[in-house]
Each structure stands twice: as structure tokens, then as C-alpha cells.
């Protein structure tokens, strides 16, 4: 066992920190909660790309850096610590690019990977539907073969990215006769195809971070199919492991953690036993979650999709984030209810934002209940119910 980092990794972490501090100093953005999923800033993504920090783990032959998942975790951990607006490239970097590397054709790799790496391809996830949440395999969006094309009809929901994405990743049913898990395929399609309509959804925080996306007779060239036809669900399951794997599940609202600790120090509240105890407990829980997530990256570095491990780290970590928001609200008392643009709002309204937003953390990318099912059945070998 070795819980340390190599010299290069320590240097890399410092380099990332320097870059982000410089960005903040220049006033390009300020740290916010949920910036990895709600902070759409194409210029930031391009500057990150110039550093070579998108596609860090992908093979060099496709323009990646061929580095380890631990290296990527160091990068994303720092992005999250600083609340950097990385949403434009986050999804492609985290899961879609890897999926293209594994399942894509040469043509897809040549076309899409360089654009992702350059910070120019922003990919929204088209998985959930109004009637297909936890039971994702029951999705109804159809893709019907017609000559050299697929014709897509249906509706996706909770697609991140709003007006910024220029591609959609899409799960659609290509064989309605087959058992539901075995008739689904994956596509990556340009977001501006005729027949695609995006309607913003306003979430509980008032943010337009998600979209309903409607597909009406959308004609998609066959070359947009990723991997094998009708095996898309199995491919997507692996992708979900990656989607659940990361530090964003623990540190999505990290700027709040920093801010509330600082606030209690300045206000001398931190001298009180109860507050000390609560904040120390949060720190303990945070450090435990961090280890669970580093373990996930080690599993990925062994070349295995981190199924039960990512299920564990995500279920644990999102519960932590909810406790963090809850405790921050308790500490702030009546001031906690003041939203960011209100007079007297403490710590930039981060607590109340996070209190609301964190309700969704334990739902995205697999609810905690689904994750615990995965952990119990696939991790511990308990019989399926």
C-alpha cells in the first residue's frame, strides 16, 4: 500500500492550482458550487484544452496524454476545489470520450476526439426520459433504420448543457421486439440537426442547467452509431460506472465547505463545541469519501470499469454533500435562507443554493437506492429481488 503521490503528481497538482488561481485572479470567473455541471464557459474549456488537460487518460495516438486515472483525479479534484466552470467539456472528458475510445470507429475517433480535446465539442447526455428514470432500459425514444440513416423520434429529459452543447449523446431503441435491455443503441449526433428542439428546464435553484430535448423525425447518418447495434445498453452501463466514479460527487459543493469553515473562523463561531464537532465530523466524512473515490480511480487504472466501487463512492459522497449543505444552513441560522443576490446574504448564498441543489445529487447518474442495489447484488452477491 502507498497512499502518497509521485513527485510528478505533486507537481501536476500544483500546476493545476496555479492555473486556477491565476484564472480567478484575472477575474475570469469566481468559485461556485456545481460549476462542473452548471458552469458553462467555452472559453475556460478552451484554456484548459490548451494546457492539454482534456482527454488526459486517453491514448496518445488519439491526442490524449496517456496518463492515469489518478492523474485525472488530481486534475478534477483541483477544478472542484476551486469551483471552476468546467461543464462544457466535463461530460465528454469523463465518459463519452472514453466510450468512443473503446467502442468508436476509426472515423469517429478521428472526428470527435480531437474536437473534445481542443475544448470545442460539448456533449449533452440524452439518457433519461420522462418514463425512464431508474429503469433506464425502458426508454422509448426510437431509432429506425432507413437507408443510410436512422430516423429518431422521442423525448429525452435532464439533458445537461442547455444551449451550449453542440452534440448529443443519445440512447435510443433500435429493436422494439427484443427484450428491453437488448434492443438499445448508442449514438452521438450533432445538436443542430433539423427536428431537434431543446426546451430549458428550471431546476429547484432557479438554474437553467438542464433541458428537455425533443426529437421529431431527426435524420441521423448511420456513422453516428457508437459500437454495436442493440448492445448500447450494456455499453452505457459501463459508461455509467465512469459517470459515477468521480470527485464531483463529493466536491460538487466544495466551495461551500471552504466558505462555511472560513465564516465560522471569522465569526468566532468555531470556538463553540457544537460547531467544532459538526465541522470536524464533516471533514472526517469528506476525507473518507476522498479515499473511496481514489480507490475507484485505482480500479480504473487496473483497466476495469469501477462498478460496485463507483456505486459505493457516489452513494456515500452525495449523502455527504447533503449533510454539508444542511449543516451550513444550520450554522447560518436565519441568514441561511438569503439567496445569493439578496441584501445580507452570507457566503454568497452558497449554502442555500447547495441545500436545494444537493437534493438532486443523490438522483443524478443513479439514485442512491439503485447504487445500493448494485453494491448489494454485484458487490456482495446478494440475490436479486
Amino acid at each position: 500500500m502507498d497512499f502518497g503521490f509521485t513527485e510528478e503528481q505533486t507537481k501536476f497538482r500544483q500546476e493545476v492550482r496555479n492555473f486556477l488561481e491565476e484564472e480567478i485572479k484575472k477575474g475570469y470567473w469566481e468559485p461556485t458550487c456545481d460549476a462542473w455541471i452548471q458552469g458553462f464557459d467555452p472559453e475556460f474549456s478552451k484554456r484548459v484544452a490548451q494546457k492539454g488537460w482534456i482527454g488526459l487518460t486517453w491514448p496518445k495516438e488519439y491526442g490524449g496524454q496517456g496518463l492515469s486515472y489518478i492523474d485525472r483525479l488530481i486534475l478534477t479534484e483541483e477544478m472542484l476545489r476551486y469551483g471552476a466552470p468546467a461543464a462544457c467539456h466535463w461530460f465528454a472528458d469523463r465518459q463519452i470520450g472514453g466510450s468512443i475510445v473503446t467502442y468508436g470507429t476509426d472515423e469517429q475517433k478521428r472526428e470527435l476526439l480531437p474536437k473534445i480535446i481542443a475544448g470545442e465539442a460539448y456533449i449533452g447526455l440524452g439518457m433519461s426520459e420522462t418514463e425512464a428514470g431508474c429503469d433506464l432500459a425502458s426508454l422509448q425514444t426510437r431509432a429506425i433504420e432507413e437507408g443510410d440513416n436512422y430516423i429518431i423520434n422521442g423525448q429525452k429529459t435532464w439533458t445537461s448543457g442547455g444551449s451550449f452543447v453542440n452534440y448529443f449523446y443519445l440512447l435510443a431503441r433500435t429493436d422494439p421486439e427484443a427484450p428491453k435491455h437488448r434492443g438499445i443503441s448508442e449514438f452521438i449526433i450533432p445538436a443542430d440537426l433539423p427536428g431537434i428542439n431543446r426546451i430549458p428546464m428550471i431546476d429547484i435553484t432557479g438554474t437553467e442547467a438542464w433541458n428537455d430535448v425533443f426529437f421529431d423525425e431527426v435524420r441521423v447518418p448511420k456513422k453516428c452509431l457508437i459500437g454495436e447495434k442493440n448492445r448500447g445498453f450494456l455499453q452505457a452501463l459501463e459508461q455509467l460506472d465512469y459517470e459515477r466514479s468521480g470527485m464531483e460527487r463529493l466536491m460538487g459543493n466544495y466551495p461551500l465547505f471552504d466558505a462555511i469553515v472560513q465564516f465560522t473562523k471569522e465569526d468566532k463561531l468555531s470556538q463553540g463545541t457544537i460547531i467544532r464537532n459538526k465541522l470536524a465530523q464533516l471533514r472526517i466524512e469528506f476525507e473518507v469519501g476522498r479515499l473511496l473515490i481514489y480507490r475507484v480511480a485505482l480500479v480504473m487504472d487496473e483497466g476495469r470499469a469501477p462498478n460496485r466501487e463507483a456505486a459505493m463512492s457516489k452513494a456515500y459522497s452525495t449523502a455527504f454533500e447533503q449533510r454539508l449543505a444542511k449543516i451550513a444552513m444550520e450554522i447560518l441560522g436565519p441568514y441561511g435562507q438569503l439567496v445569493s443576490n439578496s441584501k445580507l446574504a452570507p457566503i454568497r448564498g452558497l449554502a442555500v443554493h447547495s441545500y436545494l441543489a444537493s437534493k438532486g445529487y443523490s438522483l443524478q447518474a443513479g439514485t442512491s437506492e439503485i447504487l445500493k442495489n448494485v453494491l448489494a447484488t454485484r458487490g456482495l452477491g446478494l440475490p436479486s429481488s
Partner: protein, 374 residues
Amino acid sequence: MKLNLTEEQEMIKKTARDFLVDKCPKTFVTQMEESETGYSKELWKEMAELGWMGLAFPEKYGGGDMNFLDLAVLLEEMGRACLPGPFFSTVVLGGLPILDLGNEEQKQEYLPKLISGEKIFTLALTEPGYQNYDASSVTVEASPDGGNYIINGTKLFVPDAHIADYLLCVARTKPENGITIFLADAKNPSIDCAILKTVAGDKLCEVVFNKMPVPKANILGQLSQGSNMVQNIIERAAVGKCCEMVGNIQQVLEMTVDYAKERKQFDRPIGSFQIIQHYCADMAIDIDGARFSTYQAAWMLSEGLPCTKEVAIAKAWIGEASQRVVALAHQIHGAIGVTKEHDLHFYTRRAKAAELAFGDADFYREIVAKEMGL
């Protein structure tokens, strides 16, 4: 970063698992709980022959030249087996402090006897009314008297003192008012030792020093400079206890999952019910958190890195996590789990004792708070 065991550690683990399954069944554990001494001389000798006492000591004293991380693997297996006896006291509370603090003469004198299993050691630190696991609350006095110090006062919760040959006694030295660690002869007639009856059935003692003389030559480390040393001893003991607890709760999870697969109600295994599955998942999360935070601290100790915060995180986490784990295990096991017919009670009782040993979660949260600058 790496989280897997080395080949040698895998070997320690396997040897220990096989040996303890064979030699330390729960019937034996019960016998030891009920016996006066709390350990078997025969088993103690076999453990010494396997090189367990000496594992983390240098070869020149007869040790195995391995490190604390390797010892951590062994402690985990001992926790899994609920091994009774003075191994923890002798090695973690006695031997390793002697290795750290002793002069060469002391090491030559004591370590080979410890490693060969000939002598048993323990630490006399806590006292009546004791609040914190640090040297500041020590009141037992040691006053100079010619070539000796005279130790006077009462120590409490001293593990295995009734069978120990030597006690590391932490005392407040007069007139400097500093803390000194003495290596005292535990068989000295001016010591009264009474065994307390504990939840875990282990042997914690009340040790009364009635003006016991200890030669100055038996000071371990520097006179009156022992505060930081005591902190190091407590940190290592806390991590060692965490290692035992990782083994304990891992075994509890495995027992519970097996039970949930076998036990049928409503014509199906109870493990097929989602609520039981989620209980088990929650247990697994708590245990992996315990495992990694514990091994992180053990690794840092092994590497000689400062790790006050990491030790505090591990011990605070595992103290509460282990309570959650055994509570869920009981819920899943149902009524059989609250009887002596089933093995679960061994683990539940030890988890409670371990939670209290060397500082509970509140104690370590305060340390984390300080480390955070609160």
C-alpha cells in the same frame, strides 16, 4: 498510490487467517474470557514461534524486520478472529515504544525477551477520572529518591496488567512536573492489581502503585520530556485498534451477508429484500471507509510521516462506523444474533470496547477541529 497488499503482506494475512481459524475458535475465545489469565501460554508460544511478536522489530533483536503496515495486516486478522490475550499490549503498547524510546541497553535487555514470547508488557496510562488520552491528565507521581523514583498512585484500564512482566508507567515527575515513562517491574510486591470485568471479556486492570521504587536506569526516553512520546504511543495504539476493528467489522459483514443469503422468510432469502440489501450496502460503505482511513494512517506511521489528523480521522470514523455496522448486523440476524448461541456477540462486545479505547469519536473530532484551525 496503491491500495493492494504486497506479496509478503498477503502471506502474513493468509498464514494468520489459517492459523487463527484453527487455533482460535469461538469456544477458545469463550474459555479465555472466563479464565483468570485471559490467554493460553501454549498459543502464546506458538505465536512467538511464528514470529508474530517480533514481526515489526529489527532483526538484531530477533525480529522479522518488517514495518507497522505489515503488523497492521496481522492485527486485522487478530480482530477478525477475536484473538484473546496480551499481543496488543505487549507489542503495540509495550514493545514498539521501547523500540522508539529505549536506549540500546534497554532494547537489548527487553526486546529479545518480548520477541521470543518470554515476557509480557503493557502500558499503564489512564487514571481514575481520566478524560483525555493525553499526558496532560496524568497525576500519578514519581518522586526522586536516591537512585530510584518512587511511583505512587492508581492507574486504570491497564490491559493485561495481571499477567504482565513489565509495565510502561506514565507518571508525573517531581519536582519538574514533566511526564516521564518508566519501565517498571510488574511483579513488584508494591503493586496491587485487580481485574475489572469488561463488556468484551478482555482483562483490564486497576493497578495501584504503593510507593513503588523504580531505578532511574529504567526511565524510557528523556526524564520529564515524555508528553510527545505519550502522544505518539497513543496515536499508534489508536491505529492498531482500528486495524483490529477493520478485521472485526469485515467479518461481521461477511457473517451477515451469508446469513441473509441462507435465512428464508416469506419463502425467499431475506437477502433478496431491498431493505436488507441496503443495510448490507451501508455496512460495506462504512467498512471500506474504515479500511482505507485506517490503512492510510498505518501507512503514514510506517513511513514516519506526521499523521495526527489522519489518525484522528480513522479512529473517529471507525468508532462510530463500527457501531452502525454491528447495529445493522443485529437487525439482519434477528433474534439469534442476540443470543450466545451465535458468534455475533463476540464482535459487538469488542466493537464497543474498541470504540472507547484510546479515545472515542468526540475526542478525535476535537483533534480534527484543531487541525482544521477551528
